[in-house]
Symmetry: C2
Subunit: 238 residues, 2 copies
């Protein structure tokens, strides 16, 4: 699977996402007309991403946001009870995007090697597709209040556990060599994160998301595949 194919299956527009958020927060949002609410939520999120990318969420003032969205301060507060709530909504929904999609991908495959590939690629493609959400959830994680922080930390552990488990079951089937899988999973995660944290770098280097994902998988497989089988079975899964 490459990114183009991935998009066909998973594509959901930023409008769709805004609609999800609207439905989840119907009671706390003062605007009741779905169409207007969704349209403005989309505008707000995009503005938040643009501003926070440059100077961070904390440094973004509500006046900045008002200017960028073209909406007044009063209107903004009709959509969110405050800046804190806005942050929290984006964080929570960001994580739910990651979780939902990753679970779906993971469930699609059985064979550990294929599954590992799918999950690694899937995560990268997701992060490409929802790149502002991914960047934001990572960079602004520090700013959420302690009570919500637990949720975020457990999400982090959860996505890592998916990979760890694949490596472990692959070891049981003699497909992957035995090792500290938790540590390997962390390294994989670090490389995946690289894609959305330093996207500007790869645009400059002219590296496509497919190239990046393939390179990452090559690295992982060079390390994880049981050595003796490497030469013999190399072509089996390609």
């Amino acid at each position: 699977m490459n990114y183009k194919e991935f998009k066909k299956i998973y594509a959901s527009s930023s409008r769709d996402i805004a609609r999800e958020v609207f439905l989840e927060n119907r009671d706390s949002i003062q605007i009741k007309k779905e169409k207007t609410a969704v349209k403005n939520l989309e505008k707000i999120f995009n503005a938040v991403f643009r501003i926070s990318y440059k100077k961070g969420f904390q440094a973004m003032s509500m006046r900045d946001l008002s200017r960028e969205t073209g909406m007044s301060l009063g209107s903004l507060y009709a959509y969110f009870s405050g800046k804190e709530k806005l942050l929290c909504t984006i964080q929570t929904h960001g994580w739910s995007i990651i979780k939902t999609n990753l679970e779906q991908i993971s469930a699609t495959y059985e064979n550990p090697r294929e599954k590992l590939r799918a999950v690694i690629k899937g995560h990268i493609f997701l992060s490409e597709f929802f790149s502002p959400w991914f960047y934001f959830t990572f960079m602004e994680a520090r700013n959420i209040k302690p009570s919500e922080l637990e949720t975020v930390k457990s999400m982090e552990e959860y996505t890592q556990k998916i990979v760890t488990n694949i490596l472990r079951s692959g070891e049981d089937q003699d497909i992957f060599k035995p090792d500290n899988h938790e540590l390997t999973a962390s390294m994989i995660k670090a490389m995946q994160q690289e894609w959305y944290l330093k996207r500007w770098k790869y645009r400059k280097l002219n590296v496509s998301v497919d190239q990046f994902a393939d390179h990452l998988i090559d690295i992982v497989e060079a390390f994880c595949l049981a050595q003796k089988k490497l030469l013999v079975e190399d072509k089996s899964c390609r």
Copy 2:
């Protein structure tokens, strides 16, 4: 080389660092007595790191800093002309720590394989030793003003180029296999960053810096070493 040995060679205390900063900024710092200035600079930096780690530099108020250091607002402004300058000083010095030390390590080795190992480990050990500095330079990079930002970006490229060049020269000597070395260097960097960005995770997993560094090197070598030579020369450099 392991972390313990590394420390013996490169160890410089946070007091030493504070002294370096003092000497570099003698003219802009109002306090002229070296001993007091250095002692307080050290206190300020440590406080900045503690507070920014939790909520980010932007969210830290000068009053927070005053409370944490036990110094008054007035005193703080005798050390720095403003919050912006404080940020800039830490960023600049952080990068100079990285650059100086990495250059030194890189110059010590000749053989590409050894050199690659040394540079990878060196970077991780450095980031362990100066972990607040590394974390801060990464997370607060967005907040510096555009004019200084160029310096920071070029530093980023510089450290990556060191690794790219090692891989390239290793390829010329048939030690590493041909590949997109720029991309590989990026991946290596991402994994190195993982150590100081998610230090809490590894403390929790009980993974030592030596284990982490060795694991990373294993991954890199499994991928980079020219395949045919792998089995034959495996023990040569260990």
